[in-house]
Symmetry: D3
Subunit: 251 residues, 6 copies
C-alpha cells in the first residue's frame, strides 16, 4: 500500500528543509510493515510550524487540497503531518481514502495501554486545545494530563541532549504526579526525534510516537478495507448537489 | 461603541449580495442599545455559504485578517457572522478587542433561560459539529437536542412561509419530544429571517436569535471593559517573540 | 427600562445600612446602558448576610414576595442581590419578568472569556455549594476551581487594602495553580468593592464583577424581549388551577 | 432508637389531617426494626403540599426549626417528610443528629439494585428538579429516567385503583422503554399508598418505597454511630463565632 | 434473619485462620440489629488475600458456588467478604437472595454523608480499579480520591499501632488535601481492625467500616423485602432455557 | 511475529469443535500482514460460550494460565478470544507480551471512524455490561447505542441467511435511529461469520470485525515495540515480593 504523509506547511522552504522531509520519510518507511511505501510531501505555502490556532487555521486549505491530490494520485491513505490534526474533518468530507490525524490515532492507541495517559505538548498555551482534541477523540476520561516542554518546535532539534532531558523530566512528572500509565509525544517534530525508547526507559512507562502511531493506524485501516464513515463526514451539500470542488470558493 | 459584524465569506459577490448585508446591518442597528453602531462587512473571497467543515476551514484565514483590520480601524468589538464561529480561537489570539462567536454567545444565553435548550441547524450532517460546539462552550449538559430543518442556507429566504412552517415544526419537536425549554436558530441566515417571535409564540417557548444574541454579548463585554482572556488565547509564540503577523505565512 | 435589585435580607436594618444600598444603586446606575434605571430594595426580615445554606433558605420567602411586588410595580426585570441566587427557581415560577441570578449570569459570562474560570468565594464551607451552582448553570466543565478568601462578608469592607491583597493572592492561585483564564467575585459585597480592574491588572486575567454581570444580563434579556422559559419554570400547579398566591401558605 | 419524621407542612391543618399523620406513623413503626420508635410531626404553617420550587422554599424555615426541636427533644435522627428533601443542607448545618432526605436515601438504595433506575414523580414540571437531585446525590449516571403520573398529590388517595393503574403504566414505561432495572416512588404520599409490592409484581422489577428507605437509612446510620459530616455541613460561621440561632434572623 | 458472610478465599487454611473468621463473626453479630444472625464461611481454595486483578479473578468461581450453597441453606442474604466485590454480578445472576458487595454498599453509604468521600486502599496499584468500582456503583462524582496505605493485607494486623498511625495519616490527607468530607476503609481486613472511631476522631470526619456497612445494607434489603433486580442480573440464558448450573462448565 | 488467539473456553470439546478453531485460524492468517502467524488455541475446561457474567468469570483462571503458557512458548502477543475481554486485566498483570481484548481494540478502532458508533451484542441482558466496557475503554462518549440481535451465540451459524438479515436490521436501527456512524460486531462468533462487508454495504456505514481489529491491534503494538503499561497492570504484589505464580492459589 502507498501512504502519503502530508506536512501542512511549506517545510521544504523553511529552516528544516527538504532534507528533514527525506529523513522523516526514511523513518516512516523503516517503521512500516513490509509492502507499505510512505511518501512525505508538503504544501506550497503556510506556516513554518504550527504553535497556535491561527497558524493551524492558516494551514488547512492548502493541506486539504494536497490530500485530494494524493487521492487522485492513487495513494491508499493520507496522514496529516501535524499533531493538531489540522483539517481532519474537512479532508474527510472530501476524501474517500482514510485520512489519519496523528493526534487522534495516538490518543486511541495510548488509551489501550493503561488506565490513563498524558500528552507532552510544546507550550502551556496549547494545553486547553489538546484537552479539546481528547474530547473530540472521545477519550477525555483517559487523559491524565497535558504538560508542556516549553521548547519551540523549531528549537527541538537544536540541542538533542537538552531536549531529551526535558522530555524525561516532563514525562516523569506525568507518571509520578498525574498518575499517567503511558505518555505520548504531542508534536510531530518531537516524535520524529525518535527518542521514545530512551525516554520510556528512563521514566518506566510506555511512550507513544505519534508519527509511528499514525502510520500503524493508516496501515490498519487500509489492511481492513475500512475508511472513515461518510455518515460522519459527508460530502459538502453543494458538491452532493453537483457543484465542483473548485467552485466552492467564490472570489 | 462601534461593532463590526464580519461575514466570513464574500456575501457581496454572491446571490444574497450587498443588499442583504445592508438589510442585516439595519436589523442589527435596530436591535442595538442607544449609542451602538454596527457595521456589516464581508471578505474578498471564500465560500458562498458554510454548510460543511471544509467550507468553514476555507473561510477562516480571510476572516481573521478582516477582524484584524477592524481592530486597526478602531472598532470596539467584532462579531463573526456565522453560527459555526469560524476562526474564533485564531482571531482571539491575534485581537485584543472582544471577538464574539454567535454560537458561543447564543448557547450561553440560552443556557440561562431554562434547564435545557435545543439548536435548530441546517443539515443533519451538522448535528455532531453543533454538539461539539456545545462542548467547547461548556454547556453540553444543557443541550436537549440539535435538529435540522434540512433547507439549504441559500434557500431559506426563498419561501418564507414554508421556512417558517418548517421552523415551527422542528422547534415544536425539540420542545415536546426532547424536553427543550427554549431553542435557538443555529444559522445566521435563519436568525436574520427575524421570525423568532412568531415561532416562539407558535411553540410556546423562548426563541434565541443568534445574531441578536451576539450583538448583545458584544455590547455587554464592551460596556464592562472586558475582553477574552489572553491567558486562554495568547499571541502566537512567534509573534510574542517579535515576528510580524505577515511573516507567519511562508510561501 | 427599570430594573429592581432585590437584596435578600434586611440590609437597611443591618450594619451596612441604607447608605450601602444607595452606594450600590449608584454603582449599578453608573454601569448601566443609557436608558436603564436601577433601584435597590431590600426585604423586611431575614439574615444579615448569607454565609450558609440555612441563612440562604431563611431569605427566600421574603425575597420571592419582594420580587413579585417589583413585578406588580412595573419593573422590567429583577436581580436577586446574592451570589447564591437564593430563590431563583421559586421566583421564576411566579414571575413573568426576567429574574436574574448574579451567580448564573456571571458564570455564563465568564464561560465565554476563555477555557476555564475560577470563582472566589467567602468560606471553604461554600466551595461545594458553588460547584453545585456551576452544575445547575450547566458550565461545570468550565470551572477551574473555587477558592475562598475566608474573610467574612461583613468584614470585607473593613480594611479594603487587606481585602484587595487577599483577593489578588487567591485570584493568582486560581490562574497559576488551577489554570483559570478568568475569575469572578463570588459574593455581591466582594463585587461591589469595585476592585475588579485592580485585581485583574495584578493577576493578568479578566475579572468578572457579579453585580455588573447580572445587570448586563438583565439589560440583554429585556432588550431582546426575552424572559426565562415558562416550560422550565411553570406556575405552581395549584395556582395554575386557580388558587391565589396568598392561599398557598396554610397556617 | 427514636426517629422523628417531620412533615414539612401543616398536614394536621390540611385535607389529609392528623389521621393521615397517624396512619403514616403506624406504617413506619410497622416497617421499623425491633427497638425503633418513629414519631410523625408536622409544622405550624407552610404549604398544603409541595409541587413547585416556591412551595418547597416556603416550607424550609419552619421545617429546620422543627428538626432542631426534635434534636433538643432527644430524637436520634430526623427524616424530612417530602421527596424533594427540602431544607436537607440547612438542617444538616445546624443538627448533629442524622438528618435524612427520602430522595437521597432512596436514590442511593435504588442505585444498588441494578444498573439503572427510574423515578416516578407527580408532574412533568418536576422532572428537571428530580434530575438535579440525582446529581446532588451523586448517582445521576444511574438514573434511567424520571416520568410523571400527572396526578396531583392531594388527589393520589382519592381513587386508589386508578392511581395504582397509573403507577403500573408509568413504571412499566420506565422499565420497558427507558431500560430501568428498578424504580422508586418519588413522592411521600405516593410511597405511603403502600402499593409497592403490587406495582412491582405487575411490572417485574423492584419498587422502592421512599418513606421506608428513609427509615432504613436512618436506622442504619444510628446503628453505626454515624451522622452527616460536619466538614460538609458546618455550623453557619456566625454561630461558630458565637452568635445564637435565634439572632441569625434580623427583623 | 440469617446472613452469610462469604470470605472469597480459604481463610481457614491461611495465616489468619479460623480464629480470625470467628473474630469477624463476633464483630458482625455485635453490629447487627436484634434478630439478625451472621455466619462467616470461606471457600475451599483460592487466594490467600486479594491484592490484584488476577487473585480476584481466581476467587470468583468458588465464591459464587458458595453463595449458591448459602441460598440453598436458607440464608436470607449473602455478603461477599472482599472490598473488590469479586463475583458480585455473577452471583446476582444466579441468586435470588440479596448478594451484597461491601464496596458498593459502603460507597453508597458514604455518598450520603457529605459532598465527597475518599477510599483508603492497600496498594497504589489498586487505585484505578477502585475508581472503576465507583463508576460501577454510580457514584464516581462523589469520589474525592483513593489513597493507599501501602501495607500488605496480611501485615495490617501485625502492628496495630503502626497501622492506625498510617490510617490516620492517609485519611487526613484525603480530608485536608482532597477535600473529602468522609472516608471509608477499602479493605475488609482494614475494616475489621475496628479502628474507625479512633481514626475518625483523629481526623475529624466520619469513617465508614465496609464490613459493617455491608451488613446494614443486607439487613435493610431483607427488612424491606427487596433484592437486586433480575432485569439487571438475569439468569444465564442457557439456564433460563433449561440447562442446569452444573452443566454450564464443559470439561 | 507469532500471535496466539486464546479461546476462553473448551471450544474443541464443544459443538463448534476443533474444525471451527481451524476455520478461525485460517481467517485470521488471511487477514494478517505478511510475516504474521496466528495460532488459535483453547483451554481445557470452562463455558461452552459466554453469555453471562457467571460464564465469563468461570472462564478467566484457565484463560490466564493459557496466556502465560503462550508467553513461555515465545508468542509475541496474545488475543483473548471473547468480546467480553475476560481476564484482560488479570492477564496483563502477569504477562509482559501485549494481551489484546477484542472489545477494547475494536471500540478504540471504531471511535476513530466517526462521531459515534454502536455495538451489536447477543442478548439484551448484555447491554449494560457492554456500556461498562465502553467506560473502561474510555470511549463511552462515542457510544451511540448497544443493540442486541437476541440470537444465542451457538445458533448464529445455524442459518446464516437469517442471521445476516437480523444483523442488517439491527445495524440499520443503530445508524438511523441512534445516529451511529459505524458499528461493530460485539461477539467473536458474530465477527467470524465474516459478513461485515455485506452488512456494511446494506446499511451504508463501516462495520468493524472485532476479531480482525484485535489482530491488527496486536500487530500494531508488536510492530511498535509496545506493550501494556506495567504501571497500570503491575505484577501481583506477592509475586513482586518473590512468591511464585503457582503458590498464589491456596488449597
Amino acid at each position: 500500500m502507498r501512504i502519503a504523509y502530508v506536512v501542512p506547511g511549506p517545510m521544504s522552504k523553511g529552516p528544516m528543509g527538504a532534507s528533514e522531509m527525506r529523513r522523516r520519510e526514511a523513518l516512516l518507511n523503516g517503521w512500516a510493515f513490509a509492502g507499505t511505501e510512505v511518501v512525505v510531501v508538503d504544501v506550497p505555502d503556510g506556516p513554518a510550524s504550527i504553535e497556535s490556532a491561527y497558524e493551524e487555521a492558516m494551514s488547512v486549505p492548502a493541506t486539504v487540497e494536497r490530500i485530494m491530490a494524493c487521492q487522485r494520485d492513487g495513494f491508499d491513505a493520507a496522514i496529516i503531518g501535524c499533531f493538531g490534526d489540522p483539517g481532519l474533518e474537512a479532508a474527510r468530507e472530501l476524501a474517500t481514502i482514510p485520512v489519519i490525524g496523528p493526534c487522534e490515532a495516538s490518543l486511541l492507541l495510548a488509551a489501550g495501554l493503561g488506565h490513563k495517559f498524558s500528552v507532552l505538548t510544546i507550550f502551556d498555551s496549547l494545553i486547553a486545545g489538546q484537552e479539546m482534541l481528547a474530547v473530540r477523540a472521545g477519550v477525555r476520561d483517559k487523559l491524565a494530563s497535558v504538560r508542556a516542554t516549553n521548547i519551540p518546535v523549531l528549537d527541538l532539534m537544536k540541542d538533542p541532549g537538552a531536549t531529551k532531558k526535558r522530555l524525561v523530566d516532563v514525562a516523569r512528572a506525568c507518571v509520578e504526579e498525574d498518575r499517567a500509565d503511558a505518555f505520548l509525544f504531542g508534536c510531530m517534530t518531537m516524535s520524529f526525534l525518535d527518542m521514545g525508547d530512551e525516554v520510556s526507559a528512563a521514566v518506566g512507562a510506555p511512550a507513544v510516537n505519534a508519527g509511528r502511531a499514525a502510520l500503524k493506524h493508516a496501515e490498519m485501516l487500509v489492511s481492513m478495507g475500512l475508511s472513515h464513515s461518510k455518515k460522519a463526514y459527508p460530502l459538502p451539500p453543494k458538491m452532493a448537489a453537483g457543484q465542483s470542488f473548485e467552485t466552492l470558493r467564490v472570489a
